[in-house]
């Protein structure tokens, strides 16, 4: 299968990258786009190591030419299938490439609180009448609901703290987005490569005052696109 890392509109200036499982990284022409790919006998597993190699390949290409990062896990059976898929969305992909391909992403978030549950828990009782009783089922649900409310309150507090501490970074960034990641609420910044030094310095200063964590520069995953259905 063809593993797709990224899309560009011009060939990288340097070749010889090693991708997932050490497979050589190549480019496949598809209309006005170039797919940055590697070939595998079967689809690479979604492991942390593979995800990091995927990101590192995109970062390496992104240092050479404007690059649109592709979410890990998209595979096509062969070159023709990839070309067919890209042809369907070429205009939108080129627009996205022009919008974010020249930039990098930083993230600022509060330090993780491992005790706070991040996985949503069920809060609705079954409609079998048990919810009206004071039995163990109701207690269980109430405890889960309390945990969920506590987690939401913690997220709200973290979101407010990150927002207040990083408001001054907005003017350096091209765009700002908020999302909830594995470690809680975070603010994501799309930053022009020419401004990374200034942004990194300002972000480090803001983080030091607020007890926050700064990540990046990374390929602009958050700003490139996301699957919504």
């Amino acid at each position: 299968v063809i593993h797709l890392y990224a899309l560009t509109a011009e060939p990288p200036t340097s070749v010889g990258l090693a991708g997932v499982d050490g497979a050589p990284v190549t480019t496949i022409e598809a209309g006005a786009l170039l797919g940055v790919t590697s070939e595998h006998r079967s689809a690479p597993a979604a492991t942390a190591d593979n995800a990091l190699v995927h990101a590192a390949v995109i970062a390496a290409v992104g240092e050479q030419v404007p690059t649109l990062p592709v979410r890990f896990g998209t595979h096509h059976r062969d070159d023709a299938a990839l070309r067919e898929a890209l042809a369907e969305t070429e205009v939108a992909l080129l627009a996205a490439l022009a919008r974010v391909g020249h930039a990098v992403e930083y993230v600022v978030r509060a330090e993780a609180t491992p005790d706070a549950p991040r996985i949503p828990v069920p809060t609705r009782a079954d409609d079998d009448g048990q919810s009206q009783s004071q039995g163990p089922g109701r207690r269980y649900l109430e405890e889960r609901l309390a945990e969920q409310h506590a987690a939401e309150a913690a997220d709200d507090a973290a979101r407010a703290r990150v927002g207040a501490a990083t408001a001054g970074l907005d003017t350096i960034a091209i765009a700002v987005a908020e999302r909830v990641g594995r470690s809680g609420p975070e603010r994501c910044f799309l930053v022009d490569r020419e401004a990374t030094d200034a942004f990194a310095e300002a972000a480090a200063a803001a983080a030091a005052e607020g007890g926050l964590v700064v990540g990046g520069p990374w390929p602009p995953f958050t700003f490139a696109a996301e699957v919504t259905g």
Binding site: L4, L7, S14, G16, L17, A18, P24, A43, A45, A46, T47, A48, D49, A51, L52, V53, A55, A56, V57, A59, A60, L68, P69, V70, R71, F72, G73, T74, H75, H76, A81, L82, A85, E88, T89, A92, A96, R99, E105, V107, R109, A175, G181, R182, S183, V213, V214, G215, G216, W218, P219, F221, T222, F223, A224, A225, E226, V227, T228, G229
Partner: protein, 75 residues
């Protein structure tokens, strides 16, 4: 991440390589992995969701771009 590929990949700097990580520090690698697996452009094609090396789901996806300037659902 292994650096087995280094001899044949002059521009590829594995995470944790001696000349410095390209992708950040250990404290934020989980944030990066989160992005790699959850965000980025998705092209219509086959997506494999795996746990512990076992492919659990293999499905086709349609592309929906959600850009910074608004949503754009593709045909």
């Amino acid at each position: 991440v292994s650096d087995d590929s280094a001899p044949t990949a002059p521009t590829f700097v594995p995470v944790g390589a001696a000349d410095g990580p390209r992708l950040g520090n250990d404290a934020t690698l989980v944030d990066l992995i989160d992005r790699v697996l959850e965000t980025g452009v998705t092209i219509s094609g086959d997506v494999v969701l795996s746990v512990a090396g076992v492919d659990l789901v293999y499905l086709g996806l349609r592309l929906v771009l959600k850009g910074i300037e608004g949503d754009e659902t593709l045909p």
